[in-house]
Amino acid sequence: MTEGLTPGRDPGEALRLDAVYKAFVPRGRKAEPLLALEDVTFAARPGEFISLVGPSGCGKSTVLNLLAGLMRPSAGHVIHAGREVHGVNTEIGYITQDDNLLPWRSMLRNVEYGLELRGVPRAQRRDRAREFIELVGLAGFEDHYPHELSGGMRKRAGIVRTLAYESGVVLMDEPFGPLDAQTRVILQDELLKLWDRRRPTVLFVTHDLVEAIALSDHILTFSGRPGRIKRAYQVNLPRPRDVFHIHEQAGFKELYDALWDDIRAEITGAGHAA
């Protein structure tokens, strides 16, 4: 069940965490340091779509922040494209939980923003941005400001803003969290189509098991705090996937039940024996 995630450095890996620990020291003199991640090791090969699932507060987002270089590990190695991550990692794309669209830029200029920062000439980045805006059905809303867009539109804009500059690795932190169930599934479908264009490596944090199965090649389950990888699952459903009917696929139910048993143990506290 763990093929593709075997330990041992391989220069062809897109990213790797090697025995990573992350502790936070809260404010207050007497506060005990908080261990968020404990001995986390996994790797992803280029083009793999990997989901991290687990109870809230288990450090899934911390994994993304480490790879983005916004945090440093307390121990262990965080490696991207064969090199240790030092400082902010501008080689990856990071789609955060909040869409973080800049409210003073129109939707088009938000989508262009990453390209602009990377020095892509104006005409070229405008074309690219429009192409992606078209892909997610936002054409006609280019001049709207973020506060004039619906939640789903903002998510789409945030996602294509990052995908438009085509980094090899994309981190996504519960991007569909606050959306209603229908919009969620539609966006999952759109995301898979966008991903299929160039197949970047994706690390996708979610607590929705159906979403994880529908999107991923591999799923890593995390234990509650401190976050440890419990198990790695391979999703053997064929691609392209039909996210609207994913639960009817052969093998879906077994995988869902296995994941749910794993996670439930953590939520109810049975997994805290150690």
Binding site: L70, V88, Y94, D98, W104, L117, P146
Partner: protein
């Protein structure tokens, strides 16, 4: 066809629209009529009370004040000379205070430790009533234009400073993180995230401090001056000429009001603008 009478949808909506607009117009018109009536009532009451309930020495009367105002506004140069003096010190003080406020706020907002070092001193300086500093400034800068400019700038500086710092700080960390990961340098982050993010706060602070600059300039004139509208008002008081005091006050209020109206577009300058909650009130 269901139902009886045929009402094309556009008829229904335009009729409703007309109704709503008329109601709105009436309400707005009513408010204005009431406002003017209230002002007229106060003036009439003032006129009637003066000489009957209260001695004219204390409250003068509308005719005398009106006469004084006409004499000033219609006069060749004396009043306008004083008005120019006050507006100059307020204007120069405003610009100086605003530029200094923004300029000092930027490095301090970005460098937290430095801000924490100086913060208590700024708070102390801000809580000193600026009026109390008037005599000090006059001691340092004489009784000319300079102390009035300094006092006006002082009124402006803290509000602009505090709100610029606040404006920079309230920019969500997520915007900064996303920009950095997308490849923004420190300079680019400042230019494309922090500056536009703080702008509504700076603009709002500028809007409320322009009247504050006027107050600073006039306070300076009250303390020691031989020019300005504040001086005119004070001189009238010195001669027990109540109509002059009231006329001076009205002129100052009118200037502040006009400046406020002139700057109102600033609050709507940015289409995307969020609600801005200012710190430091209206400049004391």
């Amino acid at each position: 066809m269901i139902g009886g009478a045929v009402h094309p949808v556009t008829h229904v909506t335009t009729a409703e629209r007309r109704r709503v607009l008329r109601a709105r117009r009436l309400r707005r018109g009513g408010v204005w009529v009431a406002r003017v009536a209230l002002a007229a009532f106060v003036i009439v009451a003032w006129d009637l009370a003066s000489g009957t309930l209260v001695r004219p020495f204390f409250v003068s009367n509308p005719e005398a004040v009106g006469e004084r105002l006409l004499e000033w506004l219609g006069g060749e140069d004396e009043f306008w000379f004083h008005a120019r003096f006050t507006l100059t010190s307020a204007g120069v003080g405003f610009v100086a205070g605003a530029v200094l406020g923004v300029a000092v706020a930027w490095p301090l907002a970005l460098w937290r430790t430095a801000y924490r070092i100086v913060e208590p001193y700024f708070l102390v300086a801000y809580s000193v009533p600026a009026v109390a500093l008037g005599p000090v400034f006059i001691l340092w800068f004489g009784i000319g234009l300079t102390p009035k400019i300094v006092l006006a700038a002082y009124f402006v500086f803290f509000v602009v400073f505090i709100n610029t710092v606040e404006g920079i700080r309230q920019v969500p960390q997520g915007y900064v993180d996303v920009a950095r990961v997308m490849g923004a340098s420190r300079a680019a982050t400042m230019r494309s995230v922090l500056f536009p993010g703080a702008l509504p706060y700076v603009l709002a602070a500028l809007r409320i401090t322009l009247p504050a600059a006027m107050i600073g300039a006039v306070v300076g004139e009250f303390i020691a001056s031989n020019r300005g509208i504040g001086y005119l008002t004070r001189a009238a008081a010195g001669r027990y000429q109540t109509s002059g005091v009231i006329a001076g006050t009205i002129v100052l209020a009118a200037i502040v009001l006009l400046l406020g109206i002139a700057l109102r577009p600033l609050s709507r300058a940015l289409r995307w603008q969020p609600e801005v909650r200012l710190r430091g009130g209206g400049g004391q």
